[in-house]
């Protein structure tokens, strides 16, 4: 799909990361479970307690010997997925994180931890837990970058008994800083067979190749005619009018220069040839087969230099 995406990328307002559109899509996850019927990977046990106390420098005798209890602040540790990962995570939580990743909020940092301890955990206790996504904040700009605070609440149980609650807040953010500038857009591959097409685009004209012998129009540009094999050709200038013949919405894989999701259209020009490009002027999820569109020329100036690309705008009142 990289070559398709290279035809234009996405500039639709609705597809840009961090707009209210994203906040609204994140809000949907509030109240949804993040982990269901999770089980601690190990029962509460003395070796893990001892390792914890060694690391923390905690010599409290309550955590040692035959009547040892676990340090209360280990509550979350018993629920951790470790290197082998979480098995109880729901699709909702992963979906939400993917949305944030795709919007450029790829970094994560824990900001708050609020725990309540209802009774001490003892070696042998089998810990079970359920986690709910309590809230997702509006977009916030912090010293680290811009992103969203996600708060989860985990109820920790041993058997039916609630032994503790654990509220956890993370900031999922796009790191700030100049090094985060998106890479330049990929450039079209220009060769002797299609150079005239790109020269015309730079002058904001859309040219269609025409066979000099049989008169059949063709796109993309080729050395010879598919209909009659003739190598001679000339061009006609397209009116730029067309309709969406087909389309795809790119969600994954993310391409560094573009912010998914975005729509890539197959446009059928009034002259009859088809062309892959972007459909602009409507959110990615409003693109439909049959929408009337008209070419417009989009100018970019990034680290790769100046670039003009043909894109197709949905006619007013048609979306």
């Amino acid at each position: 799909m990289a070559t398709v995406a290279a035809a234009g990328g996405s500039e639709e307002p609705g597809a840009r990361p961090g707009t209210d559109d994203l906040a609204a899509r994140l809000k949907v996850y509030e109240g949804q479970p993040a982990a269901r019927a999770g089980m601690g990977k190990d029962p509460v046990n003395l070796p893990m307690i001892r390792h914890w106390c060694e690391a923390m420098g905690d010599t409290n005798p309550a955590y040692q010997g035959p009547d040892a209890v676990a340090p209360p602040t280990m509550l979350q540790a018993w629920t951790m997925g470790g290197l082998s990962g979480h098995t109880a995570r729901t699709g909702a939580y992963d979906e939400m994180l993917t949305l944030l990743d795709e919007a450029g909020c790829t970094s994560i940092v824990a900001t708050d931890c609020e725990q309540e301890y209802l009774r001490p955990l003892r070696p042998g206790d089998e810990v079970a837990f359920d986690t709910v996504i309590e809230s997702v904040s509006a977009r916030k700009t912090t010293k680290l970058g811009t992103g969203y605070f996600v708060t989860t609440r985990t109820d920790v149980r041993v058997g039916p008994e609630l032994v503790g609650t654990h509220r956890f807040r993370v900031l999922k953010y796009a790191p700030s800083g100049p090094e985060r500038k998106p890479p330049p857009r990929p450039r079209p591959v220009v060769n002797r067979d299609n150079a005239a097409f790109w020269e015309a685009v730079a002058e904001e004209r859309l040219l269609i190749q025409r066979c000099a012998d049989c008169g059949v129009l063709r796109h993309p540009w080729l050395p010879g005619c598919n209909a009659c094999g003739c190598l001679d050709w000339d061009t006609v200038e397209s009116s730029g009018e067309g309709t969406v013949c087909s389309y795809v919405v790119m969600h994954h894989p993310p391409f560094p220069a573009f912010a998914p999701p975005y729509a890539v259209g197959l446009i059928e020009l009034a002259e009859g040839v088809r062309m892959v490009s972007n459909v602009v002027g409507v959110p990615y999820d409003k693109v439909r087969i049959g929408l009337p569109v008209r070419v417009e020329f989009c100018r970019y100036d990034d680290d790769g230099g100046a670039l003009t690309l043909p894109v197709f705008r949905v006619l007013d009142g048609e979306a």
Binding site: K41, M48, H51, W52, E54, A55, M56, G57, D58, N60, P61, A62, P71, P72, T73, M74, Q76, A77, M80, G81, G82, L83, S107, V109, A110, T111, D112, C113, E114, Q115, E116, Y117, P120, P175, G177, E179
Partner: protein, 154 residues
């Protein structure tokens, strides 16, 4: 720091606890809490993510705050709640100084609400509130805070 002879009450300041933030502490704390995020043990990957070095994870901070409270009030003190917020990261080579003050005291249940701050050279790494029940035997010790003071001095 001298011996504390009065019963802890509102306004009582807990003796400070100085914690050298070593690379070993950060990594050991992360692994003991089963947190394998690379930013807590791999300096190269941490730098790739825009951090100058590895930094302490929140579970270790929480563990240290818990330790600070039970160090001060003794092994029979029962933690009820711990609510912490992170600020300036704990990077290797820094020192965090934990201080605390009793903000509220319910004399009937002997429940203290302690405001805790952990400051490093950048700013406040952690601010939070811990609710702890001081059991009879805790108070029988009478001089609970001496233990910590001795430890800090050593």
């Amino acid at each position: 720091m001298g011996a504390e002879t009065t019963r802890p009450g509102v306004g009582t300041e807990l003796p400070a606890l100085e914690i050298p933030i070593t690379r070993t502490l950060i990594v050991a704390g992360a692994i003991a809490s089963r947190d394998y995020q690379d930013v807590h043990h791999d300096a190269e990957l941490a730098r790739d993510k825009g951090s100058p070095d590895i930094f302490m994870n929140i579970l270790t901070t929480n563990g240290l705050v818990g330790r600070y409270i039970t160090d001060c009030f003794g092994p029979t003190a029962q933690l009820r709640k711990a609510a912490i917020r992170l600020g300036a990261p704990n990077y290797p080579g820094d020192t965090m100084v934990l201080t605390g003050r009793i903000e509220e005291m319910d004399d009937e249940t002997r429940t203290a609400t302690v405001r805790v701050v952990g400051a490093n050279s950048i700013g406040n790494h952690v601010t939070g509130t811990v609710t702890v029940v001081l059991t009879e035997s805790t108070e029988d010790r009478g001089t609970v805070t001496v233990t910590v003071a001795d430890e800090v001095d050593s």
